[in-house]
């Protein structure tokens, strides 16, 4: 069994139109249904939703000191907005789950395999 990161990207938050309460309601129902399906099949490992990159801080070592900078590491138009970590037998299985996430959130999903630790 391998693990895959299913991540979704968001662009500039200013262009996003907020969902109506009804839309939020059905969206949440779809997510809940998807996650229970993931859990029932032993697929689910972890999920998270991230704040905008404005909330990020970068910590780095500089001449032996730790230095912090405000903002994300990479300045880009898109940033990871949320992710799932899933168990899947192979890429086809992971892609099938990614398809279900796409249907639920109506947003593209990037599927990246986790590095497998030897002996793990």
């Amino acid at each position: 069994m391998s693990q895959y990161l299913l991540s979704t990207y968001a662009g500039d938050s200013k262009v996003r139109t907020p969902m109506t309460p009804e839309e939020t309601q059905t969206f949440m129902e779809r997510i809940t249904a998807l996650e229970s399906e993931m859990k029932a099949s032993g697929t689910f490992v972890f999920t998270g939703r991230l704040h905008d990159p404005d909330a990020a801080t970068v910590v780095r070592s500089q001449d032996g000191d730790l230095v912090m900078t405000d903002g994300p590491f990479a300045e880009s138009k898109e940033h990871i907005a949320g992710f799932y970590i899933i168990n899947a037998g192979d890429l086809d299985a992971a892609l099938a789950w990614a398809g279900k996430v796409v249907d639920a959130i109506n947003h593209p999903i990037e599927v990246t395999p986790f590095f497998e630790m030897p002996g793990a």
């Binding site: 391998s2 037998g89 192979d90 890429l91 086809d92 892609l95 599927v111």
Partner: protein
């Protein structure tokens, strides 16, 4: 023979070891041993089996020498025998398993891989072409192609792209991707003498697919399409310039290929599960049936294009249909149809070439010249450019009277 055995052996060893690079290295090693041994003892009755057995044994020896291999060996001890005992040699000769090749082609053409990687992997692993041969086919350096292959294999391994024939539900779509890779390989070899061997390679791959998946009519359709198009190759060029279907010397067509292709098309018609490749093959079969351009059954060709457009509504299909309409309804109707699709195909040389020919038939010499010139700027192959230069030259000598022939003039570019 080398390429075929290479493909069979790699496919089987990928199943055995679950690792493409390991399988390739082992097969290459085995060929080095073979070049020595076969020279003295002669070619064994079952070369593929010999290569597979030798490659398997050498790969296991190699694994045993590495730390990871010793670990693996302990786990596999019971199966693989003891490290230094007689073990592996006693297994007898392995047989190539045709399903292995089928599994491997689905891995190579997995939609999670970009098209150029699918094509490169298929040619390298199943076609048995060397890295340098694949590189030359795609006009890139050997080191660039080697990098491309390494990246593709890295993704297969890291992301665990499976090595299996897809489940029934996914099969039609996944097979489409395999067939389109094979057809792309064929088309890469069209009109380019340097890359002509790719066409033979594509036909060989399609034959293997038909044998492996006898119930898939589109695989048969692809084989027929390529055979029928290949049958006309001897008549397609003269003095390095393209010769249009209407001007081809039909006695130069390869009758054996035509008969085989037409027999497949007839079998597809009986099976009655049409698809885009079978319909394209049927169109080619109608062309190959005619003793002359004028004797072509154009109404049937237009019907087939209508059917094709209903399952594959692309601008290129619409272009070919428009050209066929020029033969049934005349150049005026063809021009109307061409103008409708022109914006979608503005960067496609064949659209401008078809407009040029149609405008010429209508006596619009200046507009025809502009269209041919545009086509020549967009053309990729030397044969196409030479052909277009000829057309521009001929225009100057044209009678200004429009061509009144309704069903015989012009050209048909789809039936190359």
């Amino acid at each position: 023979m080398f390429r075929e055995v290479y493909g069979q052996a790699v496919a089987t060893l990928v199943r055995v070891f679950g690792d493409i690079t390991l399988a390739e290295d082992a097969v290459q090693d085995a060929f080095v041993v073979a070049s020595d041994r076969w020279l003295n003892d002669g070619i064994p009755p079952n070369p593929a089996g010999w290569i597979i057995t030798t490659a398997r044994n050498r790969a296991i020896d190699g694994l045993r020498r590495s730390a990871r291999g010793r670990e693996l060996d302990e786990q596999l001890g019971a199966v693989a025998g003891t490290s230094h005992g007689p073990g592996a040699e006693d297994w007898g000769e392995d047989e190539p398993v045709s399903d292995d090749q089928l599994r491997l082609i689905f891995t190579c053409c997995h939609p999670a891989l970009r098209t150029e990687h699918q094509v490169a992997l298929t040619l390298r692993l199943l076609g048995g072409l060397s890295v340098d041969e694949v590189a030359r086919s795609f006009l890139v350096s050997e080191s660039a192609m080697a990098k491309r292959l390494v990246r593709a294999k890295y993704k297969i391994k890291a992301a665990k792209i499976p090595y299996r024939v897809p489940a029934e539900a996914d099969l039609p779509e996944r097979l489409r991707s395999v067939l389109s890779v094979v057809y792309l390989i064929y088309n890469t070899g069209v009109d380019d003498p340097e890359r002509a061997s790719l066409r033979g390679e594509a036909v060989r791959l399609a034959r293997a697919l038909v044998e492996l998946m006898p119930d898939e009519p589109e695989a048969a359709g692809l084989l027929a399409l390529m055979l029928l198009s290949e049958s006309r190759v001897p008549a397609r060029t003269a003095e390095s310039a393209l010769v249009l279907l209407r001007d081809q010397d039909r006695t130069k067509w390869d009758r054996t290929m035509i008969e085989e292709g037409q027999a497949i098309v007839r079998a597809c018609v009986r099976r009655d599960r049409p698809g885009p490749l079978q319909l394209q093959a049927a169109i080619q079969a109608v062309h190959c049936d005619a003793d002359s351009f004028e004797a072509t059954d154009w109404p049937q060709i237009v019907d087939l294009y209508d059917h094709l457009f209903s399952v594959m509504p692309t601008p290129v299909v619409a272009l070919n249909r428009a050209i066929a309409v020029g033969e049934t309804e005349g150049p005026g109707a063809a021009l109307t149809a061409l103008n409708a699709i022109a914006p979608d195909l503005d960067n496609y040389h064949l659209m401008h070439a078809a407009r040029g020919t149609t405008l010429r038939r209508l006596g619009q010499r200046d507009a025809a010249k502009t269209a041919y010139e545009r086509a020549a700027r967009l053309a990729v192959t030397e044969a196409d450019r030479r052909f277009l230069a000829q057309q521009i030259e001929e225009l100057a000598g044209d009678d200004v009277q429009p061509d009144r022939r309704s069903a015989s003039g012009g050209s048909h570019r789809s039936g190359r």
